[in-house]
Symmetry: D2
Subunit: 386 residues, 4 copies
């Protein structure tokens, strides 16, 4: 990638973040619906902090960093670079204002442009990581916003065109033979550390569904008592279901409507079901006499079947049967960058694919997304295997 | 009071609420620092809801009320008029926007003006209650804001001139003889229901301090181990002190600085100590070989000594030794208005006087303010008795 | 009281404690149903610790105290004499065994007998306090046991004869004129520090019910929606009622049966209602167009009306309208003994009278019992005033 | 196995459970130190309930079952057979008494003997499952007891001879080549459902330590700041470490002593370290520039190296790197027996081997034990891989 292209990409990604808040009121930008989510404003500031902290401060002579208290506020989870504001209290940060944050972003953009005049290899790598990081936060910003909006009696609409509109195909299974396969990223393109090392894995023969599970299928699960039969659930999931009073996916309003980024909408039975926890996905699969695919199966099926594996990208993240653990031989890089992925490899499950909120160019078949199994606010659905 | 005067008072009080948010950023208006506090925006909306619900809807023909979901959002605690949004989640209400709320306030002002053309007695009484209510929220808005700002690393300043600047007099005691006294509001002026009925009470002879306790005296208490000697504390207060790690008043930063509405400021040893719980006030009094006055003693001393009881008003609310309970013969009025004060008469203590944030004309010697004994965010100090 | 009498009283009280556990299985003696309650074994040990710590150690030369870890375990709340085992974990103390505790009690009895050979005045006072203290724990032991038993599916019976069997009289009111009255203990007999100083108080004229409220009356309250009408409740009580799902007194099973120390029994509509919180008593009184008496009213009515105030003692503790606060002029004694009552004078309400579990000779008209208003496990009922 | 042998085994296992409580005081038998643990008495009753519910009731005509409330009390987690007493409240069950439970056990033994006169195949399988189940509870009973005893200031000793006494060998690594291996139980002997199906897995070449990690090595980890360096920990583990104030393994008292079933003992630096969470094991491994073995690696190494894999059994359960998930093709059996293992396959990690408290004859190389990664009270240690 030459320097002009890089600069264009940089500015495109940075601008896209700011464009995301265009449809919002200023009042919405500080909204934090729950501890797991962050206000839109915080996402804008944190991604900026990432570039400043890891790229400009060490690599651009003369760059003057923000107030150290801003750094304290906008560090997410990097222990190596210091203490930080408690995550559940991000919504309390009425200052700095949005205007101040946008000015800071602009100042960081200037720094990045300057650095791009004559970048070294490390800077280029960090730049790419920073851009990928910002893209991840772009989809998080929208998922978090949906959570925050869903908690308000007025049910605000983000944008009339913001929702997914897609239909799943009628059922069909794709077969994969048993064999020793290679899993993980190969080649020189960008990938996160957790996508490697590429390694071998044995897979028994299996079948995987050609498309995602639909709302209609999930309505049938509910009608058949899916939320009141403990035999379908993991014990931990059943407890959560009882405690939290789950009776349907996170944003369903009854069984005919759903709250979305475009406001409350009728449920389309053919659209893919979404915003459910791993436990609900797992229970649904058991009810269907099927199971979730492992992440290796998913990746292998994508390689073998290509586009026949419908909606593998750009629709919904897809829960897999695989706990999020390091690949054989994985070692986290030293320092703060090593905290990016490596320290989260317990008590989470892997999701594969990408979703309609994922920025263009940000998805890969080897991409490993991960969330705790009780999480429901992300744009996640499921695909069956057997 | 004639109708023109009433209209003037009305608009003055209403305008004052809106003027309070002038020094703030829009981002600050949704800030809720803790469950006990409310965002500035919510105070503006709730006081408006109060007028609309209790005055315009029943008494102004043709008044079109707000969206019922707004009513749900801005009802504080009136069970009789329906369900409500959970108090700890008021900070999540990014909608309606501030602009929409101000428009609604203006519409309610119009309705009130119209009603004032030919008001009946009930309307006038409700109008007065609504204004007093709005004044209460004016001081709450600022106390709540101080709490919210105090939780931010950037320590925002509300206004450079917003802080109290006053010094306490050197020590002196005022005597009151024993006797049967009358307590509670008399006459025809406005008062809250809980200030009556006026009734007799026997008081033993006592002395009361002529002024409030100072920061300097409280520094001496701390230096003498006040926060580490359980013998000075109520058992309940000692537990709270340990659990919460209290080592000084709510907004002290160390023992030489204090966070205020004017930002972080040096502690003036002669200024009155403030933002402490009843438990701290009570422990300090015990350490001083004194005690807090009962509310009857306070009211009687104010009547007997007048201005010699320095800073009885306009500086700090003053904790008393009296739990908040009904006066003999008190019966809450029927309906929603009866919920205003009567249902809070357990597990709270009475504070007397008023504070520098109290709107002009809002204080009376018979005024009974009340808060749970662990509360520290209000502008409360103390005065000793013996 | 001469020495022989004292020794007899001593041994009688001490033996009575041990007799209380006769009907129990050894397994029951470690049972702690909730944080507020203590196991029977703990009561036996704690009362012994009290004598040893405050009487034998300072006053009986040569007395060898228990293992300091026992002292740590059986100190209830005396900060002045050291740290202690957390109250909610008293049920985890399987050691020392009951046998060891009984041996220790016997050794302390020997010490007390020895001390009584030639006691000084202080020792005699502490002895009396220790006995009164042990009597308080005797009734607590049974109340706590009832709580523990109530949590077991097998609903154990303590003793077939252990329950109260009494009927309330038909309604009648007793009048008291207004006037200045004297309240608090007088004379030289034993009393707790919180019963004094005797002092004057003004009472408006009032009426008090001649007997306690019955189960039948409370059934009518429930039938009339008493547990679903927020207008009858203090706000704090209503929240608790909702959170905890209260639909009747603590030990009612439905509205026709009650769990008792004699096992599950039919509810006698004429028997006094019991095991309810202050909030329920207060709501019932409001529903009855009446109120709870203040503690001064109760004490005055007992003085004026004597036995016409039926069941003032020996049936149920009676909630009053009075928060537990010090009488005018009260100062807690210095040292550990001062912790006995004085540090609990916040966030509790006074109960007057005594109950059927109160040991003989332990009740007085000036006796001030106190519990937090949400407490329901004690043998408390109510009497109306107006 | 012929019938006489079966009967002998049966009685041996059943007697062993009862022998375990011989060294205890009756007071200890109801002790529940925390929600995750159960009282000794409950283990005796639950294992009996298992035989009665799954074997005698369906298969022995005329067997009269216990009071249904006992069944409610002693059902652990089987949703299919009805509701149950909440786990955290098992310590509140003072009834039935130990004596009653022992009588019930004896009655169930009689029934089992009778059934063994002419058993069908299903009964024999359930009998074996019941015996294995009872053996599992034998080791749990002692682990739970250690937890309960550890919470008491008196630090009771279960039995002077009850502790492990073993030393680890000096360091050495065993190599395994890469290859396709078979994992899981084969053959006809008893095994739990989760040990199969036997299936193929690819393993890269690896090395595994010949012995367990020692106390001395763990002391070095602590001395090197192991508990204060977030870079060594999973993020989730680091949070727990901070919240709970972990500074060493669960039962260490300082760094030189340890609380054990034989009371407080000096730490032997050569003995294997134990009673640590998966997070501590994982952090230690990272500090050692190594990692935990996967469960497939462990099983394969045991198969390849046999006794050279020192202390693979009978010393400590060994944490692996593997989340507890079903083997390919696993389907839980229908009905209550299917709840035995299958519903726990989320948010736990697998431990391999067995420990010194495991009953003789109860261990296998394919045995999959599992606990949540934060658990520390079980007899778990670790072995490194790389």
């Amino acid at each position: 990638m030459n320097l002009v292209l890089q600069l264009n990409t940089l500015l495109e990604v940075r601008d896209r973040s700011e464009a995301l808040i265009d449809p919002l009121e200023l009042e919405d930008l500080g909204l934090q619906g729950m501890a797991d989510a962050s206000p839109p404003k915080w996402h804008l500031a944190h991604t900026n902090w990432f570039f400043e902290t890891f790229l400009l401060q060490p690599h651009l002579k003369g760059h003057e960093p923000c107030d150290p208290r801003w750094a304290y506020q906008f560090n997410s989870y990097y222990d190596s670079v210091g203490d930080r504001h408690p995550r559940p209290q991000r919504g309390l940060l009425s200052r700095p204002t949005v205007k101040e944050i946008l000015r800071w972003r602009s100042r960081v953009n200037d720094g990045l442009e300057e650095l791009l005049q004559a970048p070294d290899e490390t800077s280029l790598q960090l730049l790419e990581l920073g851009l990928q990081h910002e893209q991840q936060h772009q989809e998080l910003l929208l998922m978090d916003l949906l959570d925050g909006f869903s908690r308000q009696p007025l049910e605000p609409c983000y944008h009339r065109e913001a929702d997914l509109s897609i239909q799943t195909a009628s059922d069909g299974w794709l077969s994969c033979d048993e064999g020793l396969v290679s899993i993980g990223h190969r080649g020189t393109g960008f990938h996160f550390d957790n996508e490697g090392p590429r390694h071998r894995a044995w897979l028994d023969g299996f079948e995987i569904r050609n498309d995602l599970v639909s709302n209609g299928a999930f309505q049938a699960f509910i009608a058949d008592g899916g939320y009141s039969r403990p035999d379908l659930w993991m014990s931990e999931g059943w407890s959560l279901c009882q405690q939290n009073g789950w009776i349907g996916p996170r944003y369903w309003r009854g069984v005919q409507e759903e709250f979305t980024l475009a406001g409350r909408q009728p449920l389309d039975p053919d659209a893919p079901v979404r915003h459910l926890s791993w436990f609900e996905a797992d229970a649904f699969a058991r009810w269907s006499d099927a199971r979730l695919p492992t992440e290796a199966e998913w990746e292998h099926a994508a390689a073998v079947h290509g586009e026949a594996l419908l909606h593998s990208h750009g629709v919904l993240w897809q829960w897999t049967a695989s706990p999020y653990r390091p690949y054989p031989g994985f070692v986290a890089p030293p320092g703060a960058i090593g905290e990016y992925n490596g320290k989260f490899m317990s008590s989470q499950f892997v999701l594969r694919g990408s979703c309609w909120l994922t920025p263009p160019g940000h998805s890969r078949d080897t991409y490993r997304n991960f969330f705790p199994p009780a999480s429901r606010w992300m744009a996640a659905g499921l695909r069956l295997a057997r």
